[in-house]
Each structure stands twice: as C-alpha cells, then as structure tokens.
Amino acid sequence: MSDPLLTVKNLYKHFDISGGFLDQIGFSGGKFTRTRTLVKAVNNISFELKAGETFSVVGESGCGKSTLGRTIMGLYPPNSGEILYRGDRIDGLDHQRMLPYRKKMQMVFQDPYASLNPRKTIRQALGDPLCYHNPQLNDGEVKDRIDEVMLQVGGDPQWISRMPHEFSGGQRQRISIARALIVDPEFVVADEPISALDVSIQAQILNLMMDLQQQYNLAYLFVAHDLSVVEHLSDRVGVMYLGTMCELSETGILFERPRHPYTQALMSAIPKLTGGASDHMRLKGEVPTPINLPSGCVFHGRCPHVNQRCIDEIPQLCTLNDGRQVACHGVEEGRI
C-alpha cells in the first residue's frame, strides 16, 4: 500500500453563529452571562485518501459533508485536528505557504450558475488561476493550455471569449472542471458536482470525471447525497450523520450489506427504478440540530437498536473483518 495522498485526523469544525458581542450577552439567574451558539458541523472525522482513488462522502443535508470538503480545501479553518497532504500538515498555513498546495488541490462546485464569475469571460476564468500560479508563461502558452484543457473537458476552444451566462448548466460544469484542471491538480474535491444538472447531462459529466481520473490519476473527494451515483463512482464511501462518520468502507461491501443502522435506513430509502413495494426502513423522529448534539451516539434518538450504552458513550470507528469501519456499539457488541 502506498502512502496516503491526504490524511484527515480527528477533524473538528464548529461555526459560531452567536452574532456580535451584544447578541451573546444574556441575563439569567441574576447575572449577565455570555453565551455562544456553536453549530457543530464536523466532529472528529478521520480518514485517508490514496492517489487516484475516489472517496465519497454521503449523507443528508446538514450532515456536514460539504463543510468537511471545504475545510479540507482550506476554505474554513478547522477548530482542531490535522489535515496532511503527502505527509505535510496543511491546516493553518498562511497564504504564501499554502500556495504550492493550491495547485495540487482543486475543487468543483455544485451550482454551475454561481461558481463562475458572471462578469468574467471564460478566458479570464481559466487564465487567471493559470497565470497566477505560473507567472513565467507567455500569452501563447497560456492560450495553448486553455485550449488544451477545454478540449479535454469536451468543450470548444471557441467558447473562451464568451461570458458564463451564454452557456447551459452542463457546459458551465465542464468549464468549472476545466478551471480546476488547468493548474494540473492531483486531488479534486467535487461538491455535489452533478446534483444541479439534468439526468442526461449528469451522465455526461460523470463520464467526463471518470475519464479525467484515469487520464491524470486524479484523486476525488466526492461529496454527494445521491447514493446510486456514489455507488457507481466510488472506490470507498464514508457515510456521515450529524457531523460524524458512522460507517466507512469499500463501496461494494457497503452497498451489499450496510451494518450501521443509519446506513441501513439510508440505503433502504433509495428509490428503485423497478418500483414495486418498497422495503423502506422508517426512522422515528427527525434529525436533531447540530447545535445541541445528542449525548453518546448522535444517532441514538432515532436508532431502533438503542440501549443505555448508546446514550452514554460516543462510539468510535472500529474495523470489522471485512475491512470496513463502523461507529456503532451494537455492531461492536455483535447485537446488530
């Protein structure tokens, strides 16, 4: 086994949404107190990613999967934990020392209508990052590189003098991918890259991403909620619930027999083309807010197999015989 490209260790990301200082002041029990409201978006996440691999993070909205991707990209500073790229810590680096990693790590965004600056031509959108990282290139070389990348993503070099609003969603997503590719990255975070696209366009973009991966040995961190896409594309999958990783495994193993009760519920909810009676496993209650995390296992309030230990003690990821990691007392004890 080769060394991991990316290592995430015990990552925490909490957002302070308590507003200004005056908003935080409260009055209770006869004295003034300062209360802070924290959204605990990512809690104690650890995983590794190898070069050329696709690792998907799935979960429902609000589970912290997008925050995880953005924190790894350095868009948010983590509260604690480590992010290592080829063994070097990249969390908390200043702008200058982060620059070399910006070339290696890129991102593709969800909304093709918001991710391209509406006032920049495609040439600027692609050329600006390229020139910024490679100031030695002359105009001809920049143009050649833009043309080359446009062809790779199935675009037309003619597009580059146009503005983003002249393109459809699928075309814009190709341009966004081209922008990520132009600096020659090894690792791309793809945050729901196809969920805003039509079905027939989704397949085109997925194929493009798979082709590019083969060609350049790209590693993807694929953030998605669409389980069938994740199953198709990923080598390994991590399932997140309320900011924590509840199951992490190779794709085939996971989809064949999910072990964590939440994963089981999630999988049973996938609508199947063939229809018929659904074997959907209903969960009781609703997802709690990430402001007041439940004690113990974050899933305990909705889990059909809950017992006292689940309420008291936070389960840690433990590795099973088939190589998968599950954070569940029930699985660990062998009762699920």
Binding site: M107, S115, H133, R179
Partner: protein, 305 residues
Amino acid sequence: MSTHGKFKDSFLWYSFKRDKIAIASLLVLVVLIFISVFAPLIAPYNPYDPEMIDIMNSEIPPVWEDGGEKAFLLGTDSQGRDMLSTMIYGMRISIIIGLGAVALQAVLGVLIGLFAGYHGGRLDAFFMRAADVQLSFSYLMVAIFMSAILQAIVGVARFGEIAVPFLILVIGFSQWPQYARTVRGSVLAERKKEYVEAARVAGFTSARIILKQIFPNTLSPILVLSTIQVANAVMSEAALSFLGLGMPIDRPSLGSLINSGFEYIFSGAWWITALPGLLLVILVLSINMLGDFLRDVFNPKLYKG
C-alpha cells in the same frame, strides 16, 4: 468591439428604447452637460469678467417681458450680469461640485464597503458604526461648522477661492456611508457565492478577490446609487450656497444665484430667483429620472412586485 454589439442586444438598451421618460431625461441631461462643458463658447457673456458687467444694466427683465432687451435674453441680475450666462456658469459649478463630491464619496464608500463586507468581524463593525455616527450628523451642521472655521482662518475674501474643493470635501465626506452600506450589502450576497470560493481555492489573495472578482459584480447598484447621489450632491450644494455657506456671489452656483435673487423677488425681479431655480429643478429631475430608470432595469423585483 464585440461589446458594442452585445450592448445593442442587452436588456438595458432594450428597456431604454421603450422608456420615453428615460430617453427625454438623458437628452436633457446631455444637453445641459454639453452646455456646461462648453460654457465659455456658448454663454454670450463672461460673468466673471468685471469689464463686461455694467451696473446700469441691472434688473433688466427677460426679453418677453416689458422692458426686456434683446442683448439679455433672460434678463440680468441685480449687478447687471446677464442671467443666461450666469446660469450657465452656475450650472457648471454645480455639476463640478456634484460630480466631484460623488467621486469622493464613491471612492471612500466603495473601498470601505468592499473590505468591511468581505472581511466582516471587527473591521466591519467599526466602519458600520462609524457610518451610523456619520449619518446621524446632518451634513448641514457639519458644513456650517466647517465653513465658519474655514472662513475665520482664511478670511471671507479668500474663502471664495477654495469654496469648490471645500464643498466637494464636505458633501463627499458626509455621504460616504450611503456607498459603504450599499456595497457592503452586495458584497455580503456575493461573498457567499461559489465563484468566490473558487477564487480562494485558486489561491488568490483576498485583496485580489475583492477588487477583481467581487467588485465588478457590485457595479450595478453603485451605478444606480451614483445617479441619485449626483442629484443629491447638486441639491446639497444648492442648499449650502443658498444659506450663504457655499459659492460666493462673484462666482455663483445655481444655489447662490437663487439666494442672491431672493431679496428682489418682492420688488418684481422674480427672474433672478425663478430661472436658476427652474434650471436646478430640470437638472436634478433629469438625473433622478435616469436613476429611477436604471434602478428598475437592474432590480426588476422593485417594480414588478
């Protein structure tokens, strides 16, 4: 250039062609600005030249009134200056002060708004509270205070020479919060968009992201605000001059002209006040109408709802 072709297909041009009020306003404005710019060539007399002023010609009514003279189409003021020429030069000063003050407001306000909005936190809190404090002072109060001090320092006679930059500074500094607030609002909306995150992923410095990525996307509200602010600045200048705190009577702006004629209004010489007043209304109205049009085009929600 291809941008020209694009402009012809744009929604702005399309709406403009169909909006008679906007077309009329722009026409009036262009004519007024043209006259102001080429005032020395167009005005029949030079009101700043004492040689051309004869006190014997004072208070001659406009040409269509009894006693009017062909030499002075719109009559003369109490000092015998040709009204038409004086108004043209006055409008020129009004427009210079208006544009200058807005340029100053815009530079200050846009920069503060961009950086405060993007960085948030303490910087943002500081500037926005400063803006609140600034807006809670009436600019008139500030202007009265400042001009009193300034006149005491340099003397009333020399005050006339520095009146234009003084008015630009007073009006410019008192109104920057308008720009800062507007720009900050758009920055808060833009900063959440994914293209900004994409720029951060590309490794750009925050100054570069603010100026090259976000700033172009805040231009429409800035443009709309600018038209309104130019009109406001022209009005403010007129108000200050009317109160005697602005342009001196030997280099009158529209406001000081109105003021100078005010005492003659009951002695029958209404034109000294009314004509510059009418010109001021036309100037401000055409700018405001154009601003309304731009606001409607750039923010369709306002009028469709």
